[in-house]
Symmetry: C2
C-alpha cells in the first residue's frame, strides 16, 4: 500500500475468492468482494478503520441496532472504463448524505478522510471485482449501526461503520408496473423519510408485498396526510414526462435527495429540456394519462440508474403508458452511463478517479 | 426439564453468573440473565427453539436487519411474589402484539407454543434472577430480526427470533418534564407507528436529544399532519386527568396499543372513574392547564409502569402541573403492581403463573 492509505490498518486475504464467482450469473447482493472496512466508534471517537477479509462478525444480542433500528446506509457504484481505470460517481454526495442521515438518527458523523481512504483502498485491493462493460459495476454499501449492548431506548455510545461491496451485473431493466399509494405511507412530516435510515426500508416490505400479490412491482409513495401528491418510490425518485416537460417532486423531509435525480435534472436543463420541480398531484397525472399527454414515468436511483414505468394503478384502475419514440428514460440513462463509464465529457466534474 | 419443555433444545450454563451481579446497583439493560432463547426461520419454517447460555452471536455484515431495519420487539416483565412464585402480566397481549408487529414488517409470525414454552423454560432456569420486592422484576425482551445475508431491498427469507432477559431494579420514578412535539414526529398515517418496529425508536433519539438539551426529559408526540392532537410518548401511552376525568387518545395506526394503557383504562372503569378515550387536543390541555382544571398527566408503559409528568412545554412556554393529593398516577400504579406481585385479587385474570 502506498503512503496515502497509512491511516488504515490493512489485513489482506491470503487468497482471493474471485474465481468462485460466476460473473455472468450474479444475484444482486449475494456475493461480496474479498475485503471490507469496519471502524468502531468507542469512547467518543472513531477508532482506526480496518480493512479485513470479508466475513461474519460477532455482536451482542442486546446491540441497539437489533432493537431500535439505529442504523443508516448509502448505496454507490464503482465503474471500470475501457482502460481499466475505476471511477466513482459523485461520491462526495453520498458522503454528505450518510452524515446527514446519521445526524437525524443520532449517530456520530464519520470523518471524511476515513471515508475516502477506505473507498480508495477497497477499490484498489478489489479492483478485479469491478468488471468492464456498460451496466457492470461494483455496488458499494457503506453503513453505520449502533453496536452498544443494552436495551434501554436511547442513542448508543458505540457504533460500527462498515463498507462492503458486491459485484452487480448489467441486466436488462424490465419496465415496472407501479401503484400509487392510497392506504400505506412511507414517511411522516417531521420524520426520517429524507434519511437513508434502515427502518424506512423494512417498513415498505409489507405494502410492497401486497402490491406484488396484485401483479404490480413497486409502490409510488404519496404524501401521508392526503395521498394527493406523488413523492418517490422505495429506492428511486420519480420523474413524469408530460408533453416534453419533465416533472419531479421537490425534496423535503419525507423524500430522499437522490444523486441520480439531481444529475438527471442537471442533464435535462443542460439540454434545454424544461424541468418542473414542484408538487406532482395524482389528479394531474391521471388526467394527463387519460388525455394522452403523459408520455413517460421513470424511476431514478443508483441501483437501477433509470427504470421505465409501463403503467400505474390508481383507485383500482390500471393506466397503460405509451411506448414513445426516443424516450427520455433511455436518453438520460445513456447520458449518465456515458459519464459514469468515462465515455463522455464530464462537464460537471461528477467522475471521481479512484 | 419436565416434559412440557420437550419442544426446546436446551443447553444450560456450566456455572451461573448471578454472583457477579450487584442487584442493588443495576443499570437497566446492562446485565443479562444466564440463558437466552433463539430460534431461526430457515426454508420457510421456524426451526427448533434453542435455549443457550447468554452470549454474543455471529452475523453476516450484509444481514438485512443492519440495512433495512426489518426487526420488531416486545417488552414484558416477570414478577416474584412473597412465596417465590414467578408471574407474568398479560403475556398473551405481548404475544399477539409481536405477531401484529411482525406482520406489518413482513416477518413471519412466531408460533404460540414456542413463545410460551420458551418463556416458561427461561423463567424456570433463571428464576433466581427475578428478585422479590415491589418494583423489582426481570425485564423480558423478545425480538425478531432479519438475518438473511443480502443487500437487496426486499423482505428476508431468514430470521432469528430471540428472547433475552435482564434484571430491573425498583427505582424511584422521578417525575418527568415533557414537551409537546411541534416540529418532529414519530409516525405517519399508514405507517408503522402501531408496531413495535425497531426503526420507530431509533428515529426518536435525535429529537429527544434536542429536548434533553433544553432540560426536558421526553417528547409527547402529536399527529404528524397538524401537531394538534396528543398521541403518546416514546415508550409510554399518555393519560390526562381533567377534574376527575381520565383522558387518553384512542389507538390508531400511529399509536402503540399499550398493555399498561388498556389495563389502567379497565381499572379506572372498574372504580367508576370516567374514562374518555378520544382525541386529546393540545389546545384543550393548554387551556385546562391555565384554568387549573388539568390535575395530572402521566405515562403508562411496561418499563416504568406509571410515570408522573411534572410539567410540559408548548410553544416555548413551560406549564407546571400541580401536585395533587391522591393522584391517579400513584393510585393506579399501586393497583397494577398489587396485581402483578400477586398481592391483590386478579378480577380480570391478568396474571399468568410461570
Ligand atoms: C428512498 C430512496 N429514494 C431515492 C433513491 C435514489 O437515490 P440515489 O440516486 O442517490 O441512489 C434511493 C436510493 O438510494 C432511495 O433509497
Ligand atoms: C411507543 C410505545 N408506546 C407505549 C408503550 C407502552 O406499552 P406497554 O404498556 O404494552 O408496555 C410502549 C412500550 O412498550 C411503546 O414502545
Amino acid at each position: 500500500m502506498d503512503a496515502k492509505t497509512s491511516i488504515l490498518d490493512i489485513q489482506t486475504v491470503a487468497k482471493t475468492r474471485i474465481n468462485e464467482v460466476d460473473f455472468d450469473n450474479l444475484q444482486f447482493g449475494k456475493q461480496y468482494a474479498d475485503h471490507m472496512m469496519y471502524c468502531d466508534f468507542i469512547d467518543g471517537e472513531w477508532q482506526q478503520p480496518k480493512i479485513v477479509p470479508y466475513g461474519p462478525m460477532t455482536f451482542q444480542p442486546s446491540a441497539k441496532v437489533f432493537h431500535y433500528g439505529q442504523a443508516v446506509f448509502e448505496g454507490m457504484k464503482a465503474f471500470k472504463d475501457d482502460d481499466d481505470q475505476v471511477w466513482l460517481f459523485r461520491p462526495e454526495e453520498n458522503f454528505k448524505r450518510i452524515n446527514l442521515s446519521s445526524q437525524r438518527m443520532a449517530i456520530p458523523e464519520f470523518p471524511k478522510d476515513y471515508f475516502f481512504e477506505s473507498l480508495n483502498t477497497l477499490l484498489e485491493l478489489d479492483k478485479d471485482w469491478v468488471k468492464k462493460g456498460k451496466g457492470n459495476s461494483l455496488y458499494i454499501r457503506p453503513f453505520a449501526i449502533a453496536t452498544e449492548a443494552g436495551v434501554s431506548a436511547s442513542e448508543a455510545n458505540e457504533y460500527r461503520f462498515m463498507i462492503i461491496t458486491c459485484p452487480a451485473q448489467a441486466y436488462y431493466n424490465k419496465p415496472v408496473k407501479v401503484v400509487f399509494a392510497q392506504e400505506y405511507s412511507r414517511a411522516a412530516d417531521g420524520g426520517v423519510g429524507f434519511a437513508k435510515a434502515a427502518g424506512n426500508y423494512g417498513a415498505q416490505f409489507y405494502p410492497t408485498k401486497l402490491a406484488k400479490e396484485k401483479g404490480l412491482d413497486q409502490i409510488i409513495w404519496t404524501d401521508a396526510s392526503s395521498h394527493e401528491y406523488l413523492e418517490e418510490a422505495g429506492t428511486m425518485n420519480i420523474f413524469f414526462r408530460i408533453g416534453n416537460q419533465l416533472l419531479t417532486a421537490p425534496t423535503n423531509d419525507r423524500i430522499l435527495d437522490g444523486v441520480t435525480r439531481k444529475s438527471i435534472i442537471q442533464l435535462a436543463k443542460d439540454e434545454g429540456v424544461e424541468v418542473i420541480v414542484d408538487r406532482v398531484s395524482v389528479k394531474q397525472i391521471v388526467e394527463a394519462a387519460k388525455s394522452g399527454e403523459l408520455k413517460e414515468i421513470f424511476g431514478a436511483g443508483t441501483a437501477a440508474t433509470v427504470v421505465r414505468v409501463e403503467g400505474f394503478e390508481h383507485d383500482g384502475v390500471y393506466h397503460d403508458l405509451p411506448e414513445v419514440e426516443q424516450p427520455y428514460a433511455t436518453h438520460f440513462k445513456n447520458k449518465l452511463q456515458d459519464i459514469q463509464y468515462n465515455r463522455a465529457d464530464d462537464a460537471h466534474q461528477w467522475r471521481y478517479k479512484v
